[in-house]
């Protein structure tokens, strides 16, 4: 078994340093709290994008239901925050004090049983990981054990996203309906709304993001990551070599689901609400698009894709609401037709060689390596 002796190769190390510098130093120093909070919102999609790189880029499993897991994670977090915000003192004016306001509006008089455990933060954090993970395990087992894959899997995950959205919107009394869960205030008594809290939450999120990058990079470099790639290229040969293809696929899908759920939970904390408009088909496909634009084969590329596409979305839809959808649509078509490996592919094809050449020529000038001239020597 060959494992790279280094965790990152040189270009990945540069990507890591660049991303860390931008997220930890440059953005917090240059942006005001409002914009920083927007970046925090974009970064929640970066979690989903990391999961999709593992699952789609490496494993070849296109899931159009990542919004489901993003939503499950987000709703778990939002349920905890909502319960804390609807303490008996805060909800004195309701006909039943102590339950969330939307339940009161829908004539529900007691807290439903599945809301009860969300009084505990420990349970909530476990639920953020376990609920989407188990859900993905069930879907994955049912599909991959029966060798359903490719387009069929994509369509069925999409149907699951549709079902969950309709369910959340329909069961207004239990979920807050189309408005979602709004007016989230405190986390264990700590107010999440003022500016200094937003900054702390931003840094917590960035640290979590780098933890996820580390996990994804680790998976990618072990034998597991290699099997994922092999499976994408020649599924039958991997199966005939004695590997259980289904189990590897289920694992990749569950990891992607858990990453998405962490992103969703951070979304609820940073943005202060959660609604079904982040669960359904359209947001799920948009998440795939961020990954595709950034580069489905590159963890860092996908993160940049999530940040840049969302940034473009905010700024373009503010100034040219008419043009935005045209631009977005054209972007997808261009990505698919012209550069299927996304921004990171463009970087690797056009920018990276120049940087390498720059380093190489400097080294040659310094007399480190005489034979490097041979590389560029004229053929005649």
């Amino acid at each position: 078994m060959i494992i790279n002796s280094r965790f990152f190769n040189r270009s990945e190390l540069m990507g890591f340093i660049a991303l860390a510098a931008v997220l930890f130093v440059i953005l917090p120093l240059t942006l005001d709290v409002f914009r920083l909070n927007l970046v925090a919102k974009y970064l929640t999609y970066a979690f989903v994008a990391i999961g999709l790189v593992l699952c789609w880029g490496y494993g070849g499993i296109l899931s159009l239901g990542q919004g489901v897991f993003f939503g499950l994670g987000g709703y778990c977090m939002a349920m905890f925050l909502k319960l804390e915000a609807s303490s008996v003192e805060n909800t004195k004016i309701q006909s039943t004090p102590g339950i969330p306001d939307f339940m009161d509006w829908n004539q529900i008089t007691a807290l439903p049983f599945f809301w009860q455990p969300f009084h505990s933060l420990t349970f909530t954090i476990l639920a953020i990981i376990l609920v989407p993970g188990l859900f993905a395990l069930i879907i994955g087992t049912a599909m991959f054990k029966r060798r359903v894959g490719g387009t069929y899997f994509a369509i069925i995950t999409q149907a699951v996203a549709a079902i969950l959205t309709i369910l959340i919107v329909g069961q207004q009394g239990y979920t807050g309906g189309i408005n979602g869960m709004t007016d989230l205030r405190t986390l264990k008594g700590w107010d999440i709304r003022p500016d200094h809290a937003k900054i702390i939450l931003y840094f917590v999120e960035v640290v979590l993001l780098f933890a996820c990058i580390g996990i994804a990079q680790f998976i990618r470099l072990t034998k597991l990551g290699r099997i994922l790639v092999a499976m994408r290229e020649q599924e039958d040969r991997v199966r005939f070599s004695g590997y259980s293809v289904a189990n590897f696929k289920i694992f990749a899908f569950c990891m992607a689901a858990i990453f998405a759920a962490i992103g969703g939970a951070m979304f609820a904390l940073n943005v202060g609400f959660m609604s079904p408009s982040f669960v359904g088909i359209v947001p799920s496909i948009e998440m795939v698009i961020y990954t595709a634009v950034g580069g489905r084969m590159s963890i860092f590329g996908a993160i940049w894709g999530a940040i840049l596409v969302n940034f473009a979305k905010t700024s373009l839809s503010e100034s040219f609401p008419q043009l935005w959808l045209f631009g977005l649509g054209a972007l997808f078509i261009a990505v698919v037709l012209a550069f299927p490996n996304g921004l990171s592919g463009l970087w690797a094809d056009y920018v990276q060689p120049r940087i390498d050449r720059l380093f190489a020529s400097r080294r040659a000038k310094a007399g480190w390596a005489d034979n490097s001239v041979a590389d560029g020597a004229p053929a005649e």
Partner: protein, 308 residues
């Protein structure tokens, strides 16, 4: 939920809701027929299929407005012309899209999904710019409005029966073209093995283009039928795309008969459940049932036996 009704009532409810579901069934069948050709036969995941349908609906709306303004005496017959125009408009757009976009992507089916999603966003924005964001409704001619009274408690809407008959005719025509005609044989040869079909002298590019155009054209006709059950807006098509894909997958992607059977069972289940519970729960239960059955039987109801 059944306890409050007598058996006779239940019978009437099922029949009434069944006929009420006929138009939904027709829209599903026509949408799914087009998609069964594009997705089931050609393997292209056309996420813009709903937008092709909505183009047909807008064409129908424009035709009805034109008839009202200039040919009020012929208004009762506008629907026939509207359907033909809808077929031609959506089919022409489909052929254009195939030429510009799809033909580069036959080897990458998952990427067609992303590209056609981009296309659907652009089409939605185009509809919004041209027709406005407000939903438009079509006025039906007088003879389609009433209902046939079968027994005391059962009434059948005329437009439902009419659309249903048209759907049956179109389905038979498509089946004839695909399975009996020389062109249909070429289509099936191309989708089974593009390289071999080209080697024996079939112009595969031309066949691909017309096949895609035919699928989109049928979606346009579905749009004409759609104007009878809902108002047309720029994003109306998106609501149907998941259902349609489920219909096609549920029926077994390559089988026309399966597509019809699954469209029938899905639309009737939904329509019947809607009487007993809220529309959203009916939809959730229907979709859950379909996803559940697909997990047990991934190849769909009617699967062709093929060797991979």
């Amino acid at each position: 939920m059944f306890g409050d009704y007598s058996i006779g009532d239940l019978g009437s409810i099922f029949v009434m809701q069944g006929f009420a579901g006929l138009i939904l069934f027709s829209v599903y069948v026509l949408m799914a027929l087009g998609l069964a050709i594009i997705f089931g036969q050609m393997g292209v995941i056309n996420m813009a299929h709903g937008e092709f349908m909505i183009l047909g609906a807008y064409v129908t709306w424009m035709t009805s407005n034109l008839f009202q303004a200039y040919l009020p005496s012929l208004f009762s017959g506008y629907f026939f012309l509207a359907m033909i125009l809808a077929f031609l408009a959506s089919g022409a757009l489909g052929m254009l899209v195939e030429w510009v976009l799809i033909r580069h992507l036959y080897k990458r089916p998952l990427d067609t999904l992303l590209a056609t999603w981009g296309l659907s966003l652009m089409l939605q924005q185009a509809y919004r710019s041209v027709f406005g964001a407000r939903e438009v409704g079509v006025e039906l001619p007088q003879w389609m409005l009433g209902s046939l009274r079968v027994t005391d408690s059962i009434e059948v809407p005329i437009n439902g029966v009419f659309v249903m008959c048209l759907t049956v005719l179109i389905t038979i025509a498509v089946a004839y073209v695909l399975y009996m005609s020389r062109w249909g044989r070429q289509v099936r040869a191309v989708v089974q093995n593009r390289i071999m079909a080209g080697a024996v002298g079939i112009n595969t590019e031309k066949v691909d283009r017309y096949t895609f155009g035919l699928g989109c054209g049928i979606a346009g006709v579905a749009g004409s039928a759609f104007t009878m059950i809902g108002s047309t807006g720029p994003t109306s098509g998106q609501l149907y795309i998941v259902d349609t894909f489920l219909v096609v997958v549920f029926g077994g992607a390559a089988s026309l008969l399966g597509t019809i059977a699954s469209a029938f069972s899905i639309s009737q289940t939904q329509s019947t459940l809607e009487f007993f519970m809220s529309g959203s729960m009916a939809k959730v239960l229907t979709l859950l049932a379909v996803v559940g059955i697909l997990m047990l039987r991934p190849q769909g109801l009617f699967a062709l036996k093929v060797r991979k």
